[in-house]
């Protein structure tokens, strides 16, 4: 009678089998799903790899490890490099704290870092690219074209951003931010990518030369000399405040002075 074999297999047999099976399934998977993803991964440039590393540190907690989105943030597949460039260069992303809307802040990232993350996000899916400056250059536009940009601004933009571009309120704590002092590049990117509450104005709806005209209108309006104190450009609300405080208030002070000059006061 043979003695009972307490150790029928080599102790490494089980792990070895597991590794073997993994390799086998991995190879099978690779063989049956020969995706571009894999090709892209293999051909990942240095910039994209750098971007991915940065992405995983700064963005992934809300947008997911692979940009698939979580309950905290939307997916970034297909948003394009322009969206990343806009959100990060204006300091809106990464968000300081959760809220209805990300306010613009001072951007602490370098242009290279933002370009790297943009390249990585662009590699996740096709989307609007960061434009080159000729696409929104308004310096060659005539006065008439810029005036036409004003009309398009009033038709498409002023309902939220206000006629003078000082911004306006939207429901539930959302808002349209002021447009004064915003880079032409960022205005272009915002129109194409529709950040936060803003709708997307695609190339088919507003072609590049019209975007340039709108940007030209905004920038020319900013350069106009302000005629005295503009009271914030808010229109009748601050004008009404001024007439009560400065007008009635000031004249009442004068009235007190006028009525106090006399022997028979009161």
């Amino acid at each position: 009678m043979r003695p009972p074999r307490t150790r029928r297999r080599h102790r490494a047999a089980r792990p070895a089998a597991l590794v073997l099976a993994l390799i086998l399934f991995g190879s099978l998977y690779a063989a049956f799903v020969p995706s571009t993803q894999v090709a892209a991964d293999t051909g990942m440039s240095g910039q994209v790899a750098e971007g991915k590393a940065l992405y995983q540190v700064t963005c992934s907690s809300c947008h997911g490890l692979n940009g698939e989105g979580t309950s905290q943030g939307p997916t970034l597949v297909g948003v394009g490099a322009a969206a990343v460039d806009f959100q990060m260069s204006t300091g809106r992303m990464p968000m300081a704290r959760p809220g209805m809307q990300a306010p613009s802040r001072v951007n602490t990232y370098t242009a290279e870092e933002i370009a790297a993350i943009s390249a990585y996000v662009a590699s996740l899916g096709p989307g609007p690219a960061v434009p080159n400056s000729s696409q929104y250059d308004y310096s060659t536009l005539t006065e008439e074209e810029i005036a036409r940009g004003g009309e398009m601004f009033r038709t498409n933009c002023s309902a939220c951003h206000q006629a003078a571009g000082v911004g306006g309120a939207l429901p539930n704590g959302k808002y349209a931010p002021p447009l004064t002092g915003v880079e032409p590049l960022h205005i272009y990117e915002a129109m194409r990518t529709g950040p936060q509450q803003m709708p997307v104005f695609s190339e088919g709806a507003i072609p590049d030369e019209d975007v340039a005209a709108i940007i030209g209108y905004l920038k020319t309006m900013e350069e106009q000399p302000t005629l005295g104190f503009t009271l914030g450009g808010f229109g009748p609300v601050t004008e009404g405040l001024a007439v009560w405080v400065v007008g009635i208030g000031g004249l009442c002070l004068v009235a007190v002075w006028i009525a106090s000059r006399g022997a028979l006061k009161r």
Partner: protein
Amino acid sequence: MARPADVVPTPAAPEPRDTTGASAAPPQRTMPRGTTWLDERMGLAKIGKAGLRKVFPDHWSFLLGEIALYSFIVLLITGIFLTIWFRPSMAEIEYTGTYELMRGRHVSEAFASALDISFDVRGGLLVRQIHHWAALLFVAAITAHMLRVFFTGAFRKPREINWLIGVGLMATSLIAGFSGYSLPDDLLSGTGLRFVDGLIRSIPVVGTWLEFFVFGGQFPGELLISRLYMVHILLVPAVILGLISAHLALVVYHKHTQFPGPGRTEANVVGYPLFPVYMAKAGGFFFIVFGALILMAATMSINQVWLYGPYNPAAVTAGSQPDWYMGWLEGALRLIPPGWESHWGNTTWTWSVFLPGVGLMGLLFTVLALWPFVEAKLLGDTSEHHLLDRPRNAPTRTALGVAGMTCYGMFWLNGANDIIATQFNVSLNAVTMSIRVLVFVMPVIAFFVTKRICLSLQRADRERVLHGSESGVLVRDPAGGYAEGHAPISQGEAFTLTQHKQYEPLEASETEDEHGVRRRDPNAVSGFTARMSRWFVGDDVRKPTAAELEEAHHHEDASDDDMPRQLV
């Protein structure tokens, strides 16, 4: 001052032509030659005799109405300047003026001429801005003046009709302001017109017909600017001028009210004569008001129509608000939950536009117009009043006024809810929802707080009359106790604090006589009036009676003997 020329005393009617000045001995040369010349032709001396010595009392709040009058004069002067260049037409033309951001755009002639006035007419922008600031100041001054009249009870008999004229002036000034605001045909004012279009259409049954009547077809049509122009430069100014004349004529007839004080009674007016004192004061104030308006117009830009652009029904701008005096209606419309509508037969009743828009405006002016009569009824008061109330001495009226102002203020605040949301980083919905509650709660709080403050002030007055003024010197007596001496107040101050009439709540009169027959008494007080009367004056703190005053003085003499007199 020049004395009026000696004129033969005028005999009783029929009034003869006064030819004595020319035929009699040469007039005494107490007047300058030019004045005499005018007197001989227009009877200036008589007018001057009555008018120049007219006395006006001094108080800063009496000048609020003058601010309104002077801004109206400024409005007339600057308005004439603007009419020279303004073209009230909605015809579309290509803008070819100086403002490059609008060049080549198709705009209405009215808008183009508004831009021309702003950029191409010398001094045009300044005058446009003076006109707009003056318009805002005009309505603001009328409002402030009306509040002064309300809180001091200057609307009481015999001035009820003048109060009604004032209410009419207030309403007309709103029309004047709104029609002028709409004339430049810019995006902001066009949005305001759309708002008014909605108000008109919300009037049940006849709304749509009225819209077609006003706009000459569907909004915006092509007629409105020229129609508004007529209203703004002809109709409304004529009405305002007429009402102002009547308002001032009645002020002269009634004589000005005055605050109570020693020597001031219901039968006199204590103050300075028109000539020379008030002519200088009022005339000087005109130039100060005009100067202040020029200063505001020169330093603060207002209604930058070139930024808003021409009106286009398809466009709108965020932060669209009307001028301040329409802000409370705008706020009410933003406040009311939308979609409240009923359909009866084939008519539509849009309550969520009609009630806040048309209803509130009607309510405000009805309450204002009725108030003098309601108050007289509640007090059973048929006497004349030329001495003003100190607001504390009419606690319920003062409290009601403050409650009304608070309610108005809440609506007003909500008219700017989007500006508040963006500037203070709060949610637009949170602002609106809180004001929906506050518009009901705050007036009630304001009423009770104001009434309590008034009653406390009345009580303090009573204490002051009875016990004098606190000397601020604490004295320790030999037993270790502390006491503060009181200095008696002056006779004049005591008079001022006690001169007001103490109203008693009305008692309901018997409805039946001793035989059980219903009385027909036109002066009968109903149970409801009696209850309202008790609510209105029942809480007033009683002013000290002569006996109480006497007793208080005795008490002082008796108990304060040990107080060192020299301290107080």
